[in-house]
Amino acid sequence: MESILDFILQHREAIFIVILSIFLGIEVISHVPAILHTPLMSGANAIHGVVIIGAIIVMGHADTTGSMILGFLAVVLGTLNVVGGFVVTDRMLEMFKKKK
C-alpha cells in the first residue's frame, strides 16, 4: 500500500498527463468521418514512432558492444516507424486533395 501511494506521489505529473491525454485522444478522434479512418490510423501510427526518442537515449548511453547493436537496431526500427508512417499517410492524403 505504502509503495503504491509513494508511486503515485512520485509520478503525479505523469499520471496527470496520462489521464488528460486519454481524454484528449478520445475527444480528438470521436468526430472523425469514416472516410478518414485509414489515414488517421496511419497518422497515429506515425506519432507513436515517438518511441524513437527512447531509442536515441538508450543508444546515446550505450557502453557495451551488445547494447550498441541493440540500440542501433532500435533507432533504425523507430525511424522506420516515424518516416514510413508519415510518408504513407501523406501519400494517402495526397489523393484526397486532387479532387475538384
Binding site: D6, H11, A14, V18, S21, L24, G25, I26, V28, I29, A34, I35, L36, H37, T38, L40, M41, S42, G43, A44, N45, I47, H48, G49, V50, V51, I53, G54, I56, I57, V58, M59, G60, H61, A62, S67, M68, L70, F72, A74, V75, V76, L77, T79, L80, N81, V82, V83, G84, G85, F86, V88, D90, R91, L93, M95, F96, K97, K98, K99
Partner: protein, 478 residues
C-alpha cells in the same frame, strides 16, 4: 563549471521542444480528422517529431551526461529514413493496410528493445529503497510485454494481409491465449517480487518473457481473420502507443508520454468505432474465433445465373439509377480508375451513378474512399451504406465489384452466421443486381453468400479490371 559555460539552457530548450512537439501532435491529430486540413495535420505532426528528435540528440542529458555515439545514431536514422521512405513510396495503394501494420510492428519492436536494454540498468539505489516492485520496473516490463506483442502480432497481421500466412482456427485457441496472458501477468508479478540487489541478476527471465510475449502476439492474431483484420491492426496500433508511453514513464519524457498515450487512447476509440461498425464487441474480436464457424448453407443453395457482357452493358445504359458497391476485389485488381471511367460513361448517358461505401469494405475502414479518391471519384458520389440503403429499392441496377461479406444477407437472416447483426449494404433490395467476381470463392470471412443465388442476381465472372474494361468497351459500342 565546464558544462555551464558550454550551454546552460540545453535542458530547458529540450523541455520546451517537447511541449511544442506535444502540441503539434495534438494539433496534427485534430487536423487529420477533417478532410480539408488532414494533409497539413500530418505534416505538422511530422515537424513535431523532427523537432523532438533533433532536440533529444542535441540537448538530452541523463545524470548530467550528454548523448554519446552521435555518429552511430545519425547513421541509424539515415538508414531507417531511406528504407522507410522507399518502402512507403513504392508500395501499391492496395497494400496500404499491411504497410501500416508493418510500420506499427517496427515501433513495437523498438519499444521492446528499449525495455530489454534498460532492464539490467535499473538504479541499485531504487532497488535498495523499494525493492523490485517499483514503477520503473513495472514500466520496463509492461513496455517489453506490450511492445513485443504488438511487434509479433503486427508481423502476423502483415503476413496474413499479404497472403502468405493463413488463418489458424482452433476452438481451444482462446483458452490457450488466456493461459498465456495469465502466464505473462504472473511473470511480471514474479519478477517484481524477487529480492535481489541488482536487476541484472534477473536478466534471463526477461528473455523468457520476451519469448512468451512473441508467442502470445502470434497466437493472438493467428485465429483472427475476415473483417476483423482492420480492428486488430487498430488495436495493435494503440498497443504500440501504450508501449511508447511506458518509455515516457521510464525516462520521465513528456513527449513520449503524450504522444504514446494520445495514440493509445485515440487508437482504442478508433478500434471501438470499427467494432461498432461491424456490430461486434472488442472482447469478441480478441478472444472469439471469427469466421469459418458459420453454418454451411444447406445443400442446393440454388443456381447461379450468369450475364453476358453485352446484356450487362444494355442493362446499365438504360437504367436511371445505378449504385456501385466496391470491395476488396476492386482494390486487388487495381480497378478503381476503370471503374470511374464506367461511371463517367454512364453519367454521360444520363444515368445517375452513386457508390455505396460500407465502412469496412476492403481491408481497412475508409480503404475504398482512399482508392476511389485516387481515381478522382468526387466525394459527393460516395455514400455511406446506412444512408444509401433506403434508396436501394428505387435503384435499377446495383453493381457489386469484388465485395462479398458487406452485401451478404446472412447478416440479416441467419442468426447462426458469424456476421449476423453486422450492418450491410442491402443489395437485394435493388431491382437488379450484377455481381462481378473472380469465381465462386467465398469472401474473406469464408461464409456462403446467398445474394449470389438470388433471383435478381446475375454474375459476371472474371478479374474486376478486365471485366470492367470489357464492359466499358461494350457500352461505348452500343
Amino acid at each position: 563549471m565546464n558544462d555551464i559555460s558550454q550551454f546552460p539552457y540545453g535542458v530547458s530548450i529540450l523541455e520546451i521542444t517537447y511541449i511544442v512537439a506535444s502540441v503539434l501532435f495534438v494539433l496534427g491529430l485534430r487536423m487529420l480528422s477533417h478532410p480539408l486540413t488532414a494533409r497539413r495535420g500530418n505534416i505538422l505532426a511530422a515537424f513535431g517529431m523532427g523537432f523532438a528528435i533533433l532536440a533529444t540528440i542535441l540537448f538530452h542529458e541523463k545524470d548530467g551526461e550528454r548523448i554519446g555515439n552521435i555518429p552511430w545514431i545519425i547513421g541509424a536514422i539515415v538508414i531507417g529514413t531511406i528504407i522507410g521512405w522507399v518502402i512507403a513510396k513504392k508500395v501499391k495503394m492496395t497494400a496500404m493496410p499491411q504497410l501500416v501494420s508493418f510500420f506499427n510492428g517496427m515501433g513495437g519492436a523498438a519499444a521492446a528493445l528499449i525495455s530489454m536494454m534498460e532492464f539490467p540498468h535499473v538504479s541499485p539505489d531504487l532497488i535498495a529503497r523499494s525493492g523490485m516492485s517499483n514503477g520503473h520496473v513495472l514500466a520496463i516490463l509492461l513496455g517489453l510485454m506490450i511492445g513485443t506483442v504488438s511487434w509479433a502480432g503486427s508481423m502476423i497481421a502483415y503476413g496474413k494481409l499479404d497472403g502468405w500466412i493463413g488463418d489458424l482456427r482452433v476452438k481451444a485457441m482462446k483458452y490457450v491465449n488466456l493461459a498465456i496472458l495469465a502466464v505473462m501477468t504472473g511473470f511480471i508479478a514474479f519478477i517484481m517480487t524477487r529480492d535481489v540487489k541488482a536487476s541484472s541478476e534477473l536478466t534471463p527471465y526477461i528473455y523468457i518473457m520476451f519469448g512468451v510475449a512473441v508467442l502470445y502476439g502470434v497466437l493472438f492474431v493467428m485465429p483472427i481473420g475476415g473483417a476483423d483484420m482492420p480492428v486488430v491492426i487498430s488495436l495493435l496500433n494503440s498497443f504500440t502507443g501504450v508501449a511508447a508511453a511506458m518509455g515516457g514513464f521510464l525516462y520521465n519524457n513528456q513527449a513520449m508520454l503524450t504522444g504514446g498515450i494520445l495514440v493509445g487512447s485515440a487508437g482504442t476509440i478508433l478500434t471501438v468505432l470499427m467494432c461498432r461498425a461491424m456490430n461486434r464487441s472488442l472482447l469478441n474480436v480478441i478472444v472469439g474465433v471469427f469466421g469459418g464457424g458459420g453454418q454451411a448453407v444447406v445443400g442446393g443453395a440454388g443456381t447461379v445465373r450468369e450475364i453476358t457482357l453485352s446484356d450487362a452493358a444494355v442493362l446499365l445504359s438504360y437504367s436511371k439509377k445505378v449504385v456501385i458497391v466496391p470491395g476488396y476485389g476492386l482494390a486487388v485488381a487495381q480497378a478503381q480508375h476503370i471503374c470511374h471511367e464506367l461511371d463517367k460513361l454512364l453519367d454521360e448517358k444520363g444515368v445517375e451513378v452513386k457508390y455505396a461505401i460500407h465502412p469496412v469494405a476492403g481491408r481497412m475502414p475508409g480503404h475504398m474512399n482512399v482508392l476511389l479518391a485516387e481515381a478522382d471519384v468526387p466525394y459527393e458520389q460516395l455514400i455511406e451504406s446506412d444512408e444509401i440503403n433506403p434508396d436501394l429499392p428505387n435503384t435499377d441496377v446495383l453493381v457489386v465489384i469484388g465485395a462479398n461479406d458487406v452485401v451478404n444477407p446472412a447478416a440479416e437472416d441467419d442468426p447462426s452466421s458469424p456476421i449476423y447483426g453486422m450492418p450491410i449494404v442491402k443489395a437485394r433490395d435493388a431491382k437488379n443486381i450484377i455481381v462481378m467476381k473472380r469465381g465462386m470463392g467465398k469472401g474473406y470471412a469464408a461464409i456462403e453468400n446467398m445474394l449470389f443465388f438470388n433471383e435478381k442476381t446475375r454474375m459476371l465472372f472474371g478479374d474486376a479490371k478486365t471485366t470492367l474494361q470489357n464492359l466499358v468497351n461494350e457500352i461505348k459500342n452500343l
